[in-house]
């Protein structure tokens, strides 16, 4: 059966601890910040934004919204603009993959991505002396001048496929979860196959409190957010939660 992996994020449970962000960086060999990096030039495949209801103290209320590649459907804007075919949608999983080996660094995809979920390597990846020993052997570090983004920990998917094949069976739901899902201490992020009605994202897709970011532009994202607060739902129409247009990356 062909899978269509997706995610559900319960905004009301997210404490903004940042465990997903660092677990992702550890898993995918994303280097620590260069001295000149800031919130525009840094690389965070998943980034937790603190959003608020727009009011001042003492009526201010905040929530935390993790934003990663929304894994758009077949019309992913980044895939259609890439001149190098470095962006591919895996028909077996629905995962929008990025191949840094093919990437020219033109950043058309970054301009096209409505979620600002793609990141450019402004510097060569560098770790403090000795720390490169802690790199994940399943993922190659990317070089300066290419774009990268979340791929639902594709290395884990490959490993799960191999393990399942070695045991003579097909991949099960428990075999494969991305690092951010595993690290989330509150269980706010859940992962699964949208084609399986009993999976958490499939259930979330049917939940009345669910919403997707920028749903109106028809990218068919596979990340479903959930919140009982109306003002949290309203941020779904912003280009990037918590950021004004002038502060978007690129």
């Amino acid at each position: 059966m062909i899978a269509r992996y997706g995610m559900t994020i319960d905004v009301d449970r997210c404490t903004g601890c940042g465990a997903c962000m660092v677990a992702c960086a550890v898993e995918n060999n994303v280097p620590p910040a260069h001295q000149g990096a800031n919130d525009r030039k840094g690389i965070t495949w998943i980034r937790v934004f603190q959003v608020n209801n727009g009011q001042d103290y003492p009526n201010r209320r905040s929530a935390f919204v993790p934003v990663l590649c929304q894994q758009c459907g077949k019309d992913a804007p980044c895939a259609s603009v890439c001149p190098q075919q470095a962006v591919e949608i895996d028909p077996a999983t629905g995962i929008v993959g990025q191949m840094p080996e093919r990437c020219l660094g033109c950043r058309y995809c970054m301009a096209a991505c409505p979620y600002h979920a793609r990141y450019f390597n402004w510097w060569d990846p560098a770790w403090p002396a000795g720390m490169e020993k802690t790199l994940n052997p399943d993922v190659a570090p990317r070089m300066r001048g290419v774009v990268e983004k979340c791929n639902f920990c594709h290395g884990r998917w490959h490993a799960a496929i191999e393990r399942a094949a070695a045991n003579g069976r097909s991949i099960q739901a428990v075999d494969y979860v991305p690092a951010c899902v595993e690290a989330c201490p509150t269980g706010a992020i859940q992962f699964g196959d949208l084609n399986r009605p009993e999976s958490a994202p499939a259930r979330a897709a049917r939940n009345g409190n669910s919403f997707r970011l920028l749903e109106k532009i028809g990218t068919d994202p596979k990340i479903y957010y959930r919140s009982t607060k109306d003002w949290v739902h309203r941020i779904s129409s912003a280009p990037a939660p918590g950021l004004g247009k002038e502060r978007s990356r690129g």
């Binding site: 009301d12 465990a19 550890v26 980034r47 608020n52 103290y57 201010r60 560098a126 790199l135 269980g187």
Partner: protein, 610 residues
């Protein structure tokens, strides 16, 4: 047909233009990209056999269970252990990146251990009758703490110092029994207690958070009470008034910034939706009194048995609260900051030292903490190199014993604090953990949880050697629930915050500085934490401050400006950002080297342009 020179040029030119329309140049670019991926500047991950090891995180008192994915013996990723009875599979962002700490650029690798030992011995022999040699233990209750206490019992004028603890010691807050929790600024959902345990209990209680800033806990609480800075005690007293008389007394209610109706409603909820639990970030006597009034003592605040120790260890120096030591009386101070639960502002420690030539020695893995003030800084192992036990967390109802077993070998030249301090009194400390494990096994109560199989077995069914082996492989001993704790005598905190009382008058220091992100204050975090502090705006970076725009205008500073933060303890440079969610008159400042010494948890302050 004659081929001319012109034809040759036309052919070459045409070929070049034509080639541009073929895939060749693009292929060349791709190949260049492939080549550049493997140039020497790009590190290559090491390959090897994948193994799994288990241990416990020693970075904070939660002591969460850790599953390490290793390539050979090198950990490459850390994760929680699902099904663990204490940490429930959770691990915080700091714990997830702890395997980077041995390679941190500010890691200390050498120090004058021999010279320091001689200096300490000489200074102890010079101690006058009213002077002391003291050990300040920033994580009391460990096996190493017992070594320090035993050593200080043998050393002339020896003192064993520890930060104050709630109700004077072995007391736990049982969130699983609580139906309503009122928190006075305790970061319940941002690192308090054992994060996994708090999350596991969260579904069952209603959380009311009273604090001036909308912290992470406040934003996720069922009700946030935005009180005025420093009004915690007034609110506790106002609620106590409602419980006693049915309404709050006006002076207290007015100080809080809340309406009488809000206070009455909270008090009624605490009284009628019990069992209740009231927590605070510090130790406010009125908060403790509120717990007594609500009947929390013995229900949601319970006595916890001590983890067994060998009988011969009990001839040890008593635990002394730093605040109760006379000022100017400590000649020799040894500070174990290799593991640290709380950072005490240096001003609080400094005034206890003798004025003439005190000797301060610290055991640390970086120079970020007290090492900045010490004559000798001795390099200590850092988690995940250390071999140490972690005492029960504040929300652990039963006694526990778990070991932070090393995942990697510490480099040569590290000084073991308990061996150094034990050596001053001639105590062998190397086998102390094994001796304590044997004492626990001998007591015969409780169960042993093993991470590999996620199973619990009664200790009586395990042989001593197997018990020790299991503890070294990430096992955890959990005591049986203590039924005899009902008669426990809870001790009340003796003093309020001295720092606040001695603060300068508000005319000089018109603002209130409230410190956040305190986990980064004492020791560096993994360089990868830049994802949270530098590459995103998720957390306020060290020495950054947020002010309400109106407050900033009054101070003459703007967005991104450098400014000076001044308190009665000194001043430091900060970078300002504007946030209309911060109350007027408040500076929300992120802890960093120096900021905790300056502000503690909160202090009167002034911000001026740099």
């Amino acid at each position: 047909m004659n081929t001319t020179r012109r034809d040759l040029f036309k052919f070459v030119g045409g070929s070049v233009v034509g080639a541009l329309f073929t895939p060749a140049p693009w292929r060349l670019v791709t190949d260049t990209a492939l080549w550049s991926e493997n140039w020497p500047g790009i590190p290559r991950p090491a390959r090897g056999e994948i193994r799994t090891k288990f241990t416990h995180c020693a970075l904070c008192p939660a002591g969460c269970a850790v599953r390490a994915r290793c390539v050979g013996d090198q950990p490459v990723a850390l994760a929680g252990v699902p099904g663990h009875p204490l940490s429930h599979g959770a691990l915080c962002a700091i714990g997830l990146t702890a395997h980077h700490l041995p390679y941190h650029p500010s890691r200390l690798k050498q120090g004058p251990a021999g010279e320091a030992a001689q200096a300490v011995s000489a200074a102890i022999s010079k101690c006058g009758p009213a002077q002391h040699a003291a050990v300040l233990d920033l994580r009391p209750g460990r096996t190493a703490s017992w070594t320090y206490r035993r050593a200080m019992a043998s050393v002339k004028h020896g003192l064993y110092l520890a930060p104050p603890s709630p109700f004077g010691g072995s007391v736990a807050f049982d969130l699983h029994q609580a139906k309503t929790v009122l928190s006075f600024g305790a970061p319940l959902l941002d690192g308090w207690g054992t994060p996994g345990n708090v999350i596991a209990a969260r579904e069952n209680f209603r959380l009311i958070q009273a604090e001036p800033l909308e912290s992470r806990t406040a934003s996720l609480a069922d009700l946030w009470l935005p009180i005025r800075p420093g009004a915690e005690e007034a609110l506790a007293q106002a609620i106590a008034n409602v419980l006693a008389d049915g309404k709050p007394r006006s002076p207290f209610a007015a100080q809080t910034g809340l309406t009488e109706q809000q206070i009455t409603s909270v008090a009624e909820e605490l009284a009628h939706n019990g069992p209740a639990l009231v927590l605070d970030g510090g130790q406010i006597p009125a908060v403790m009194e509120l717990n007594r009034r609500l009947g929390s003592l013995g229900r949601t605040i319970v006595a916890r048995r001590e983890t067994p120790v060998p009988e011969s260890w009990k001839k040890a120096a008593p635990v002394t609260n730093l605040a109760s030591v006379p000022d100017g009386s400590i000649r020799v101070l040894l500070i174990d900051e290799s593991v640290m639960d709380a950072y005490l502002p240096w001003s609080m420690i400094e005034r206890k030292l003798v004025p003439d030539d005190p000797l301060v020695v610290t055991f640390a893995w970086s120079r970020q903490g007290y090492a900045r003030h010490a004559q000798y800084v001795l390099p200590a192992a850092v988690y995940p190199e250390i071999f140490d036990d972690i005492p029960p967390a504040i929300d652990s109802v039963a006694a526990v014993f778990r070991i932070a077993a090393p995942l990697v070998e510490p480099p040569a030249g590290m000084v073991n604090p308990s061996e150094f301090i034990g050596g001053l009194a001639g105590l062998p400390a190397a086998d102390a953990l094994r001796q304590r494990a044997d004492a626990i096994h001998q007591a015969g109560r409780g169960t042993l949880f093993t991470c590999a199989g996620a199973k619990s077995v009664p200790v009586k069914e395990v042989k001593p050697d197997d018990f020790w082996k299991a503890l070294n492989e990430g096992g955890c001993w959990l005591d049986a629930v203590d039924e005899s704790g009902a008669g426990h005598r809870f001790l009340w905190p003796a003093n309020a915050d001295d720092e606040k009382r001695s603060s300068a008058p508000p005319e000089d220091l018109p603002l209130v500085a409230i410190t956040c992100e305190t986990r980064a204050a004492a020791a560096p975090l993994s360089p990868l934490m830049s994802k949270l502090y530098q590459e995103s705006n998720l957390r306020l970076a060290a020495n950054h401050a947020a002010l309400n725009p109106a407050t900033a205008r009054a101070c003459g500073v703007g967005e991104g400006a450098r400014a000076i933060l001044r308190t009665h303890c000194g001043s430091a440079q900060i970078e300002v950002s504007l946030d209309s969610g911060v109350p007027p008159g408040v500076v929300k400042v992120a802890a960093g080297p120096g900021i905790m010494d300056l502000c503690g948890a909160s202090a009167r302050a002034q911000v001026v342009p740099a």
